[in-house]
Symmetry: C2
Subunit: 156 residues, 2 copies
Amino acid sequence: MTKIEIHVIGKPHSRYIIEGINQYKKWLSSSFETRIKYYPLKNYRNLAPENIKEKEADLYLKNINESEEIFVLHERGKEFTSVEFNRKINDIFNNGKSKIIFLIGGPYGLSSRILEKSWCKLSLSKMTFTHEMSVLLLLEQLYRSYTIDIGKKYHF
Amino acid sequence: MTKIEIHVIGKPHSRYIIEGINQYKKWLSSSFETRIKYYPLKNYRNLAPENIKEKEADLYLKNINESEEIFVLHERGKEFTSVEFNRKINDIFNNGKSKIIFLIGGPYGLSSRILEKSWCKLSLSKMTFTHEMSVLLLLEQLYRSYTIDIGKKYHF
Protein backbone atom coordinates (compact mmCIF):
# COMPACT_ATOMS: atom_id res chain seq x y z
CA MET A 1 0.00 0.00 0.00
CA THR A 2 1.20 3.49 -0.86
CA LYS A 3 2.28 5.63 2.05
CA ILE A 4 1.79 9.25 3.04
CA GLU A 5 3.91 10.76 5.77
CA ILE A 6 3.32 14.25 7.16
CA HIS A 7 6.13 15.69 9.26
CA VAL A 8 5.07 18.70 11.27
CA ILE A 9 6.52 20.86 14.03
CA GLY A 10 4.20 21.01 17.01
CA LYS A 11 1.15 18.94 17.88
CA PRO A 12 -2.34 20.25 17.07
CA HIS A 13 -4.02 21.59 20.18
CA SER A 14 -7.54 22.57 19.06
CA ARG A 15 -9.97 19.78 19.79
CA TYR A 16 -11.89 20.30 16.56
CA ILE A 17 -8.70 20.04 14.50
CA ILE A 18 -7.68 16.81 16.23
CA GLU A 19 -11.14 15.41 15.55
CA GLY A 20 -10.99 16.47 11.87
CA ILE A 21 -7.51 14.97 11.44
CA ASN A 22 -8.74 11.68 12.93
CA GLN A 23 -11.75 11.65 10.62
CA TYR A 24 -9.62 12.07 7.49
CA LYS A 25 -7.00 9.58 8.66
CA LYS A 26 -9.79 7.04 9.03
CA TRP A 27 -11.32 7.90 5.65
CA LEU A 28 -7.90 7.64 4.01
CA SER A 29 -7.09 4.29 5.56
CA SER A 30 -8.39 2.27 2.60
CA SER A 31 -6.24 4.17 0.09
CA PHE A 32 -3.04 5.22 1.84
CA GLU A 33 -1.14 4.26 4.93
CA THR A 34 -1.06 7.70 6.55
CA ARG A 35 1.37 8.59 9.30
CA ILE A 36 1.73 11.98 10.93
CA LYS A 37 5.00 12.57 12.71
CA TYR A 38 4.81 15.44 15.17
CA TYR A 39 8.06 17.00 16.39
CA PRO A 40 8.03 18.79 19.74
CA LEU A 41 8.12 22.56 19.91
CA LYS A 42 8.89 22.91 23.58
CA ASN A 43 12.65 22.45 23.76
CA TYR A 44 13.57 25.43 21.64
CA ARG A 45 11.83 28.31 23.31
CA ASN A 46 14.97 30.07 24.48
CA LEU A 47 16.70 30.00 21.12
CA ALA A 48 16.65 32.68 18.43
CA PRO A 49 14.30 31.95 15.49
CA GLU A 50 17.21 31.27 13.14
CA ASN A 51 18.59 28.64 15.51
CA ILE A 52 15.18 27.09 16.01
CA LYS A 53 14.79 26.66 12.26
CA GLU A 54 18.17 24.89 12.15
CA LYS A 55 17.18 22.57 15.00
CA GLU A 56 13.98 21.77 13.16
CA ALA A 57 15.87 21.17 9.92
CA ASP A 58 18.10 18.70 11.79
CA LEU A 59 15.00 16.83 12.92
CA TYR A 60 13.52 16.63 9.43
CA LEU A 61 16.76 15.55 7.83
CA LYS A 62 17.37 12.89 10.46
CA ASN A 63 13.90 11.43 10.10
CA ILE A 64 13.25 11.44 6.38
CA ASN A 65 14.74 9.37 3.63
CA GLU A 66 15.74 11.86 0.96
CA SER A 67 15.28 9.33 -1.80
CA GLU A 68 11.52 9.51 -1.20
CA GLU A 69 9.29 12.04 -2.92
CA ILE A 70 9.14 15.12 -0.70
CA PHE A 71 6.85 18.15 -0.70
CA VAL A 72 7.51 21.20 1.44
CA LEU A 73 4.51 23.31 2.39
CA HIS A 74 5.44 26.91 1.79
CA GLU A 75 3.38 30.08 1.52
CA ARG A 76 5.12 31.12 -1.69
CA GLY A 77 5.09 27.61 -3.13
CA LYS A 78 3.22 26.40 -6.18
CA GLU A 79 -0.54 26.39 -5.91
CA PHE A 80 -2.32 23.39 -7.41
CA THR A 81 -6.00 22.93 -8.09
CA SER A 82 -7.40 19.79 -6.46
CA VAL A 83 -7.40 18.04 -9.85
CA GLU A 84 -3.78 19.04 -10.56
CA PHE A 85 -2.80 17.84 -7.08
CA ASN A 86 -4.53 14.51 -7.72
CA ARG A 87 -2.63 14.16 -11.02
CA LYS A 88 0.68 15.00 -9.33
CA ILE A 89 0.13 12.41 -6.58
CA ASN A 90 -0.86 9.75 -9.12
CA ASP A 91 2.15 10.51 -11.34
CA ILE A 92 4.46 9.96 -8.38
CA PHE A 93 2.91 6.65 -7.35
CA ASN A 94 2.67 5.49 -10.98
CA ASN A 95 6.37 6.18 -11.46
CA GLY A 96 7.32 3.55 -8.92
CA LYS A 97 7.49 5.59 -5.73
CA SER A 98 5.61 4.10 -2.80
CA LYS A 99 5.81 6.97 -0.35
CA ILE A 100 5.23 10.72 -0.36
CA ILE A 101 6.46 12.90 2.48
CA PHE A 102 5.04 16.33 3.30
CA LEU A 103 6.98 18.74 5.52
CA ILE A 104 5.17 21.49 7.43
CA GLY A 105 7.46 24.00 9.10
CA GLY A 106 7.27 25.59 12.52
CA PRO A 107 6.11 29.10 13.48
CA TYR A 108 9.31 30.72 12.20
CA GLY A 109 9.27 29.01 8.81
CA LEU A 110 11.82 26.70 7.30
CA SER A 111 15.61 26.67 7.28
CA SER A 112 17.34 27.52 4.01
CA ARG A 113 18.84 24.01 4.21
CA ILE A 114 15.31 22.69 3.59
CA LEU A 115 14.21 25.36 1.13
CA GLU A 116 17.33 24.94 -1.01
CA LYS A 117 16.51 21.31 -1.76
CA SER A 118 14.93 20.58 -5.11
CA TRP A 119 11.78 19.31 -3.36
CA CYS A 120 8.45 20.65 -4.63
CA LYS A 121 7.18 23.63 -2.65
CA LEU A 122 3.42 23.43 -2.27
CA SER A 123 1.14 26.27 -1.21
CA LEU A 124 -2.39 25.41 -0.05
CA SER A 125 -3.48 29.06 -0.28
CA LYS A 126 -2.11 32.57 -0.54
CA MET A 127 -3.69 33.09 2.87
CA THR A 128 -1.87 32.06 6.00
CA PHE A 129 -3.57 29.42 8.12
CA THR A 130 -2.54 27.94 11.44
CA HIS A 131 -0.15 25.04 11.09
CA GLU A 132 -2.65 22.66 12.60
CA MET A 133 -5.20 23.82 10.01
CA SER A 134 -2.64 23.07 7.26
CA VAL A 135 -2.42 19.45 8.41
CA LEU A 136 -6.21 19.20 8.23
CA LEU A 137 -6.40 20.87 4.79
CA LEU A 138 -3.67 18.64 3.42
CA LEU A 139 -5.47 15.50 4.61
CA GLU A 140 -8.70 16.83 3.14
CA GLN A 141 -7.00 17.29 -0.23
CA LEU A 142 -5.50 13.80 -0.09
CA TYR A 143 -8.95 12.39 0.63
CA ARG A 144 -10.41 14.50 -2.20
CA SER A 145 -7.69 13.12 -4.46
CA TYR A 146 -8.75 9.60 -3.53
CA THR A 147 -12.43 10.40 -4.25
CA ILE A 148 -11.42 11.78 -7.67
CA ASP A 149 -9.65 8.46 -8.40
CA ILE A 150 -12.61 6.29 -7.52
CA GLY A 151 -15.22 8.69 -8.91
CA LYS A 152 -16.88 9.04 -5.53
CA LYS A 153 -19.21 11.98 -5.02
CA TYR A 154 -17.66 14.27 -2.44
CA HIS A 155 -18.48 17.82 -3.13
CA PHE A 156 -20.19 19.37 -0.26
CA MET B 1 -20.33 47.17 16.29
CA THR B 2 -19.38 46.14 12.76
CA LYS B 3 -21.21 43.15 11.39
CA ILE B 4 -20.22 40.10 9.38
CA GLU B 5 -22.87 37.97 7.73
CA ILE B 6 -22.10 34.69 5.99
CA HIS B 7 -24.85 33.30 3.77
CA VAL B 8 -24.34 29.69 2.86
CA ILE B 9 -26.32 26.93 1.17
CA GLY B 10 -26.57 23.87 3.39
CA LYS B 11 -25.76 23.40 7.07
CA PRO B 12 -22.41 21.96 8.11
CA HIS B 13 -22.73 18.33 9.12
CA SER B 14 -19.27 17.29 10.32
CA ARG B 15 -19.07 17.58 14.07
CA TYR B 16 -15.51 18.90 14.00
CA ILE B 17 -16.47 21.68 11.56
CA ILE B 18 -19.43 22.73 13.72
CA GLU B 19 -17.11 22.83 16.73
CA GLY B 20 -14.50 24.89 14.84
CA ILE B 21 -17.15 27.33 13.58
CA ASN B 22 -18.43 27.80 17.13
CA GLN B 23 -14.91 28.39 18.42
CA TYR B 24 -14.21 31.15 15.89
CA LYS B 25 -17.64 32.73 16.32
CA LYS B 26 -16.87 32.98 20.03
CA TRP B 27 -13.37 34.36 19.42
CA LEU B 28 -14.77 36.92 16.97
CA SER B 29 -17.50 38.10 19.32
CA SER B 30 -15.43 40.97 20.74
CA SER B 31 -14.64 42.40 17.29
CA PHE B 32 -17.57 41.66 14.98
CA GLU B 33 -21.19 40.68 15.35
CA THR B 34 -21.05 37.49 13.30
CA ARG B 35 -24.14 35.85 11.90
CA ILE B 36 -24.22 32.76 9.70
CA LYS B 37 -27.37 32.29 7.70
CA TYR B 38 -27.78 28.73 6.46
CA TYR B 39 -30.24 28.07 3.64
CA PRO B 40 -31.70 24.60 3.34
CA LEU B 41 -30.52 22.26 0.62
CA LYS B 42 -33.26 19.69 0.95
CA ASN B 43 -36.10 21.19 -1.09
CA TYR B 44 -34.32 21.20 -4.41
CA ARG B 45 -33.16 17.66 -4.86
CA ASN B 46 -35.43 16.84 -7.80
CA LEU B 47 -34.54 19.92 -9.80
CA ALA B 48 -31.85 20.24 -12.47
CA PRO B 49 -28.64 21.96 -11.31
CA GLU B 50 -29.40 25.10 -13.34
CA ASN B 51 -32.78 25.45 -11.65
CA ILE B 52 -31.30 24.82 -8.22
CA LYS B 53 -28.82 27.65 -8.76
CA GLU B 54 -31.70 29.98 -9.66
CA LYS B 55 -33.65 28.97 -6.55
CA GLU B 56 -30.56 29.65 -4.47
CA ALA B 57 -30.01 33.00 -6.17
CA ASP B 58 -33.62 33.93 -5.28
CA LEU B 59 -32.87 33.15 -1.64
CA TYR B 60 -29.70 35.24 -1.56
CA LEU B 61 -31.29 38.20 -3.30
CA LYS B 62 -34.33 38.10 -1.03
CA ASN B 63 -32.23 38.02 2.13
CA ILE B 64 -29.44 40.47 1.47
CA ASN B 65 -29.42 44.20 1.22
CA GLU B 66 -27.54 44.97 -1.97
CA SER B 67 -26.36 48.31 -0.65
CA GLU B 68 -24.11 46.43 1.79
CA GLU B 69 -20.58 45.36 0.91
CA ILE B 70 -20.80 41.87 -0.58
CA PHE B 71 -18.16 39.24 -1.30
CA VAL B 72 -18.88 36.12 -3.30
CA LEU B 73 -16.67 33.11 -2.63
CA HIS B 74 -15.65 31.72 -5.98
CA GLU B 75 -12.94 29.28 -7.02
CA ARG B 76 -11.73 31.57 -9.80
CA GLY B 77 -12.04 34.69 -7.66
CA LYS B 78 -9.25 36.93 -6.46
CA GLU B 79 -6.83 35.43 -3.99
CA PHE B 80 -5.73 37.66 -1.12
CA THR B 81 -2.94 37.11 1.34
CA SER B 82 -4.14 37.34 4.96
CA VAL B 83 -2.60 40.80 5.24
CA GLU B 84 -4.29 42.00 2.02
CA PHE B 85 -7.59 40.58 3.24
CA ASN B 86 -7.17 42.42 6.55
CA ARG B 87 -6.52 45.67 4.67
CA LYS B 88 -9.54 45.14 2.43
CA ILE B 89 -11.84 44.52 5.43
CA ASN B 90 -10.50 47.58 7.24
CA ASP B 91 -10.88 49.79 4.15
CA ILE B 92 -14.54 48.82 3.93
CA PHE B 93 -15.30 49.52 7.58
CA ASN B 94 -13.24 52.72 7.53
CA ASN B 95 -15.22 53.95 4.54
CA GLY B 96 -18.42 54.05 6.53
CA LYS B 97 -19.87 50.61 5.88
CA SER B 98 -20.96 48.73 8.97
CA LYS B 99 -21.64 45.32 7.48
CA ILE B 100 -19.89 42.87 5.17
CA ILE B 101 -21.77 39.97 3.63
CA PHE B 102 -20.10 36.83 2.29
CA LEU B 103 -21.99 34.46 -0.03
CA ILE B 104 -20.97 30.82 -0.31
CA GLY B 105 -22.71 28.92 -3.09
CA GLY B 106 -24.19 25.45 -3.12
CA PRO B 107 -22.75 22.24 -4.64
CA TYR B 108 -23.57 23.34 -8.20
CA GLY B 109 -22.00 26.76 -7.93
CA LEU B 110 -23.62 30.14 -8.32
CA SER B 111 -26.22 31.51 -10.71
CA SER B 112 -25.02 33.97 -13.33
CA ARG B 113 -27.42 36.45 -11.72
CA ILE B 114 -25.08 36.44 -8.71
CA LEU B 115 -21.82 36.23 -10.63
CA GLU B 116 -22.75 39.12 -12.92
CA LYS B 117 -22.99 41.54 -10.01
CA SER B 118 -20.04 43.81 -9.43
CA TRP B 119 -19.43 42.20 -6.02
CA CYS B 120 -15.87 41.13 -5.22
CA LYS B 121 -15.20 37.47 -6.00
CA LEU B 122 -12.94 36.00 -3.35
CA SER B 123 -11.03 32.72 -3.62
CA LEU B 124 -9.66 31.14 -0.45
CA SER B 125 -7.47 28.74 -2.42
CA LYS B 126 -6.99 27.31 -5.90
CA MET B 127 -7.89 23.99 -4.29
CA THR B 128 -11.50 23.01 -3.82
CA PHE B 129 -12.60 22.46 -0.24
CA THR B 130 -15.96 21.34 1.11
CA HIS B 131 -18.40 24.19 1.58
CA GLU B 132 -18.49 23.64 5.32
CA MET B 133 -14.68 23.90 5.37
CA SER B 134 -14.96 27.21 3.47
CA VAL B 135 -17.11 28.64 6.27
CA LEU B 136 -14.49 27.57 8.80
CA LEU B 137 -11.58 28.97 6.75
CA LEU B 138 -13.37 32.26 6.22
CA LEU B 139 -14.03 32.64 9.96
CA GLU B 140 -10.40 31.76 10.65
CA GLN B 141 -9.24 34.51 8.28
CA LEU B 142 -11.62 37.02 9.85
CA TYR B 143 -10.20 36.13 13.26
CA ARG B 144 -6.67 36.36 11.87
CA SER B 145 -7.57 39.79 10.48
CA TYR B 146 -8.69 40.85 13.95
CA THR B 147 -5.43 39.59 15.52
CA ILE B 148 -3.46 41.58 12.91
CA ASP B 149 -5.37 44.71 13.95
CA ILE B 150 -4.68 44.31 17.64
CA GLY B 151 -1.16 42.95 17.19
CA LYS B 152 -2.05 39.71 18.95
CA LYS B 153 0.25 36.77 18.46
CA TYR B 154 -1.65 34.12 16.57
CA HIS B 155 0.61 32.21 14.32
CA PHE B 156 0.55 28.62 15.10
